[in-house]
């Protein structure tokens, strides 16, 4: 790899780190909008002013906001996310297993949806403006309009309850055999796939169609190659950069879409953990989860940019 690429990549990563810092400030401010504080929510409305004051002093809540922010940030950087108000448990410990579960679910969905989306996109280009293409774009419109819980409960109702092929509740536990684990997450993976499939498919189709208008495609046609050969050998390699970009953006979207899907299937992941603690107004947990979600989201976006930089031959060979 040459220096300009390395430089661009380094710049992008540095930007990402800065962005993440700014996001952490925003999340911290977002949870400080209201005058009420953590002490109030621990002790409840009926607490005496003296008890409130003592607790505030013990927890360091009387310090100015920026000091509390840096204390929180310092904790996050050293892996100490604090303790949950509602249960008193260490957040980092509870978060670790759940983060792993969520990433497992999202990666399983990615493994299914990415090849499927690219395959269907290629198919749509091959038979463009034909019935296959029409059906594929019609499905695309439908799937952007369907809420996750509609497809989710529809699947539970027909596949899990009526046909009993898969469990309706995706329980996973440590040391669960891999096969069983896959069967448990089959339905949530299907829902997540449907959520991201349409967009990826349409963008793949658009990216390849864009390339198909170039002169070298015409040359390939005139050479007498079959449409399939033209698409796979000539159009697809040149469409990789935009496709990778779309794939990465959709993976980032998967990480978010996972929140609702986890609640539908009662899957013990981070989304469920976050939603539970928003309802309990457990601010430290919400801050930690928000930051982790944002970090994963931003990292995937950075990876997308880096892949775009690396796959651009014009940057690999400096003048």
């Amino acid at each position: 790899m040459s220096t300009p690429v390395l430089k661009l990549v380094a710049q992008r990563i540095a930007m990402g780190v800065l962005l993440l810092l700014a996001v952490s400030v925003l999340i911290f401010i977002g949870t400080q909008i209201l005058p009420g504080d953590v002490a109030q929510s621990i002790l409840g409305q009926s607490a005496t002013p003296q008890a409130l004051e003592n607790l505030r002093r013990d927890m360091g809540l009387n310090d100015p906001a920026y000091i509390r922010y840096f204390r929180w940030l310092g904790g996050v950087l050293t892996g100490n996310l604090g303790t949950a108000l509602s249960s008193g448990q260490d957040i980092a410990t509870s978060l670790k297993d759940r983060l792993w579960n969520t990433l497992f679910l999202a990666s399983a969905a990615a493994v299914v949806s990415v090849p499927l989306a690219i395959g269907l996109g290629l198919l749509a280009v091959r038979y463009r403006n034909g019935p296959v293409d029409k059906i594929i774009s019609g499905l695309g419109l439908a799937s952007t309009s369907l809420p996750e819980f509609f497809t989710g409960y529809l699947l539970i109702y027909f596949v899990a309850v009526q046909l009993q092929w898969f469990p309706s509740v995706s329980t996973v536990y440590e040391g669960m055999p891999f096969g069983e684990r896959l069967s448990a997450i089959a339905l949530p993976v299907t829902v997540l796939t449907l959520v991201v499939l349409a967009h990826m498919m349409r963008m793949t189709r658009a990216a390849i169609l864009n390339v198909m208008q170039s002169a070298y495609i015409e040359t390939a046609e005139l050479k007498g190659l079959t449409p399939f050969q033209i698409i796979t050998r000539h159009a697809f390699p040149n469409a990789i950069a935009p496709i990778v970009n779309v794939v990465m953006l959709n993976l980032a979207f998967l990480i978010v879409g996972v929140v609702v899907v986890e609640v539908i299937f009662v899957y013990p992941g981070m989304g469920q953990y976050l939603v539970d603690h928003v309802a309990k107004r457990d601010v430290p947990v919400v801050q930690a989860c928000g930051l982790v979600f944002a970090a994963v989201y931003i990292s995937l976006n950075i990876v997308a940019d880096i892949v775009a930089i690396v796959s651009n031959p014009r940057l690999r060979h400096p003048k």
Binding site: T31, L141, A142, Y157, F253, V259, L274, H277, F293
Partner: protein, 274 residues
């Protein structure tokens, strides 16, 4: 200008269904057979002549709750969309016209907010804010304004360098005049085409929040909240939760069909751009 014969079938379907939902929402108290919180029968009765869609998890008439739910869902989504459009377009136009540090500040701030997934940021903020309709509209509207801002700014930057805007500036018109009398009328078409899509997004977003139990609070319920109320029935083979979920999907698809048609119309007016 608008010839009824040129409206395609898909747009007709979208228009009619959207109008039906709107009618139910506006005239809810007159259309609904029962009142919204009234327990009329057993829990999860199947559909019958008396209760067209059956009853819900507390024995309330599902059809009546669906009609009132349409009212809440459409009202909140429409208010949030209106807020995001007013705020986003005014700030976007202002950023394009004023330029300089104001543009930089606004645009970087919007970039920052958009770096956090919308749902996650909404959850973070809702963990401290009181759970009521005003909060919901504000949070949804403000977060969605970032997307309108980007579109409005992009459109206004193009218009801002056109001759008639230059002429207005040379005439000595103030910024308010330039924004509201020169740019706004010319930027209206692309913004209206975006309106439908943002409304769908608001409906889906509100439904997701309510489904997670963080949107509209009981005893009121929008469609997302009704899915949450009835979801326990699914595993017993009771499809009550599917009805409000399907309503959300149908509303989203019909508005999408209308928006698609408007989008095609406006782009064909401009000679097939896009």
């Amino acid at each position: 200008m608008l010839n009824i014969k040129t409206i395609p079938i898909s747009a007709w379907i979208g228009l009619i269904i959207t109008a039906l939902f709107l009618f139910a929402a506006i005239f809810a108290p007159w259309v609904a057979p029962y009142s919204v919180g009234e327990t009329v029968g057993d829990v999860w009765e199947p559909s019958s002549a008396k209760y067209w869609l059956g009853t819900d998890n507390l024995g309330r008439d599902l059809l009546s709750r669906m009609i009132y739910g349409a009212r809440i869902t459409i009202f909140i989504a429409a208010m949030a969309t209106a807020l995001s459009f007013i705020l986003g377009s005014v700030l976007g136009f202002a950023a394009a016209v004023i330029g300089g540090w104001f543009d930089q500040l606004m645009s970087r701030f919007v970039d920052l907010i958009m770096a956090i997934p919308t749902l996650i940021f909404a959850l973070v903020v809702l963990s401290v804010l009181p759970a009521n309709v005003v909060t919901l509209i504000l949070v949804m509207g403000l977060l969605d304004a970032t997307r309108v801002y980007r579109l409005a700014r992009a459109v206004a930057v193009d218009i801002n360098v056109m001759d008639f805007v230059e002429a207005a500036k040379l005439r000595g018109e103030g910024r308010m005049w330039v924004i509201f009398r020169e740019i706004l009328p010319n930027a209206l078409t692309p913004l209206i085409a975006e309106l439908g899509l943002r409304f769908i997004f608001a409906v889906l977003f509100l439904s997701a929040l309510s489904f997670l139990g963080l949107g509209v609070q009981p005893p009121d319920a929008d469609w997302g909240g009704m899915v949450k109320e009835n979801k326990e029935g699914i595993v017993f083979g009771i499809p009550a939760a599917l009805i409000p979920a399907a309503a959300i999907a149908v509303l989203a698809i019909s508005v999408n069909l209308v928006a698609d048609w408007i989008l095609n119309r406006t782009t064909s007016l401009k000679g097939g751009r896009g």
